[in-house]
């Protein structure tokens, strides 16, 4: 059985960029990680200390906490191939 993915998405408020990133993340996870993932969304404006602890500079930033290694994926996640590369996921063929 494959390990579970723990993903944390940092955004700043309800901007078009934030919404796009959330939409892209849900879509990719649903297609590639069915039921094996957990998504937490952190709004930096509400929780700046969390961003401080994680040293987040840019938003949106997706952090893959599990499985290791820890990865930072920056941007609105519209480049799907690069997101998958960052998540260490081999794309399903077909």
């Amino acid at each position: 059985m494959d390990a579970k993915f723990v993903l944390k998405l940092y955004i700043t408020g309800n901007t078009p960029k934030s919404e796009k990133a959330i939409k892209n993340l849900r879509q990719i996870s649903e297609e590639e990680l069915k039921n094996k993932y957990e998504i937490k969304i952190v709004d930096v404006l509400e929780n700046p200390q969390l961003a401080e602890d994680e040293k987040i500079i840019a938003t949106p930033t997706l952090i893959k906490e599990l499985p290791p290694p820890l990865r930072r994926i920056i941007g609105d996640l519209s480049d799907t191939d690069k997101v998958l590369l960052g998540l260490d996921i081999q794309k399903k063929i077909g």
């Binding site: 990865r71 920056i74 609105d76």
Partner: protein
């Protein structure tokens, strides 16, 4: 001071004078310099002085070094950042890179999180000052330089609307070239300060220059500075303290009655006297007498000796009847012996200022300036002398400097040529070769604001000190070193001619 642009005193010693009061309040000032030029110290000191002296808290945003490194590196400045953090006076925002973590860029992004974190830190400590160190490092963390540019503008705009005064540091590659490496930093800020660390004649020389202050005034050109442990950056604003001094008519004794008479009644209290002579002509003796004369009147004196050791000086003084050791114990005298080769001129200057500040003397002697000149560049030396003299004048302290001439007979020293216009009085000590014997002559060459004797008098030195006697009547060319003897007849004939 400009009415429209308010200034914030940085508290960095000397810098506020160069900046005509400080950096513009509520604006961003770029501090640019090559690596090792003191940018981080400048940025941190800006916050530290705010906390220590102005009751203004600060936020330090680091893009390059992790916060722990900064705390440790700055501990040598005696800034207890950890304590300030606990007291909620100082907050860090750590935007340094994450080593070993791969980053993937997958689309549009902004620095919203950084902005939110900085804003949060500013609120947490109610900061009035923010330092960002150093901007260039962010270009290595992200790929899209277009986004970085746009976001830096947003950052600067954000600070402006919050009314925060900001120091941003940036790296540059050459001492005299582009203002900053990425060519964008300078456009983000209204004001540019450049720190330099150049190599001149094998000596490191740090300078600070204010390149532009939008809408307000500042001093122009490069000013030397140094970084002192326990203090940080100390800039030396040369021209700004010059020529502000009042002058005094009070006379003080040179320690020798005859010399006082030659000077028309002693030195002026706040004057700078240069004593020039070849080795062994009695310069150190003149210094010793000057200090002795001060101590007899209950004046405090400081002697900066750059050529002889303490033991040597004390022994010589004892030989001439002055007990320096006793005087030091009683608190009338302070002798600082140092080899100038061990420190830069800037450090020596700060040291001189500190000593004077602490001890509060009314007389200061420097023996000799030539030793200092050997270990610096001509420009650096001139700046040093101007700084010392203007400082002494400001404090109304009498200063006696010595300079060594390179030739035994006649001649002027390089030191003299550099500083003779700055000094108020010049006393020459010269060897005079007469009939197979070396004798010594003394004359007052210049005595600003007073009459003085023009003759060259013979003097000799024994265990009682300096004994000034009669003028050399039948000798010509002492100062040029081309001594000619005139017989009595010839001397009489010449004298009659000018009657």
């Amino acid at each position: 001071m400009n009415r429209f642009v308010k200034k914030l005193e940085t508290g960095i010693t000397g810098f506020d004078e160069i900046a005509n009061g400080g950096i513009p309040t509520g604006r961003t000032t770029l501090v640019s310099g090559t690596s090792g030029s003191g940018k981080t110290v400048f940025a941190a000191q800006f916050l530290a002085e705010g906390i220590r002296h102005k009751n203004q808290n600060g936020v330090f945003v680091t893009f390059e070094e992790p916060t722990e490194d900064i705390r440790n590196n700055l501990a040598s400045m005696d800034w207890d950042i950890k304590k300030w953090e606990e007291e909620k006076k100082w907050a860090f925002v750590d935007a340094s890179p994450h080593p070993g973590q791969e980053t993937f860029e997958t689309g549009e992004y902004d620095f919203g999180a950084l902005l939110a974190r900085i804003e949060n830190a500013i609120k947490k400590v109610s900061a009035k000052r923010v330092s960002l160190d150093s901007l260039g490092a962010i270009f290595s963390q992200f790929e899209n330089s277009g986004i970085i540019r746009r976001e830096l503008f947003r950052l600067a705009y954000g600070f402006k609307s919050m009314g925060i005064t900001v120091i941003m540091t940036a790296e540059r590659l050459e001492e005299y070239g582009d203002i900053a490496r990425h060519g964008v930093e300078e456009f983000v800020s209204d004001n540019v300060v450049i720190l330099r660390n150049t190599l001149e004649a094998e000596k490191r020389r740090r300078t600070v220059e204010i390149l532009k202050f939008r809408g307000t005034t500042h001093h122009k050109g490069e000013y030397p500075f140094t970084i002192m442990p326990g203090e940080g950056i100390v800039a030396i604003p040369i021209s700004s303290i010059e020529l502000k001094q009042s002058s005094s008519d009070l006379r003080i004794t040179s320690g020798s009655e005859v010399l006082d008479r030659m000077c028309g009644g002693g030195f002026f209290r706040d004057s700078i006297i240069l004593v020039s002579g070849a080795t062994g002509t009695g310069k150190t003796l003149t210094v010793t007498q000057f200090i002795g004369g001060g101590m007899r009147n209950g004046e405090k004196c400081v002697l900066f000796a750059y050529e002889e050791s303490r033991e040597q000086l004390f022994r010589n003084a004892r030989g001439w009847g002055f007990d320096f050791e006793e005087m030091e114990k009683k608190g009338y005298l302070k002798v600082i012996c140092q080899y100038p080769e061990t420190a830069g001129l800037e450090d020596l200057l700060i040291n001189i200022r500190h000593t004077i500040e602490e001890f509060g003397p009314s007389r200061v002697a420097v023996d000799s300036l030539s030793a200092l000149e050997r270990c610096s560049t001509a420009k650096g030396f001139r700046e040093f002398v101007i700084s010392v003299t203007s400082y002494l004048k400001m404090k109304e302290i009498a200063g006696l400097f010595t300079a060594t001439t390179p030739t035994l007979m006649g001649g002027t020293s390089v030191t003299e040529a550099h500083i003779s216009t700055i000094t108020d009085s010049i006393i020459l000590l010269r060897y005079v070769e007469m009939l197979g014997e070396m004798r010594r002559g003394i004359t007052v060459l210049k005595m600003r604001g007073s009459m003085h004797e023009k003759e060259i008098l013979e003097f000799n030195i024994d265990s009682g000190g300096m004994h000034i006697g009669k003028p050399f009547r039948n000798v010509m060319g002492i100062l040029s070193g081309q001594v000619q003897h005139l017989d009595e007849e010839e001397y009489k004939r010449m004298s009659d001619m000018f009657k």
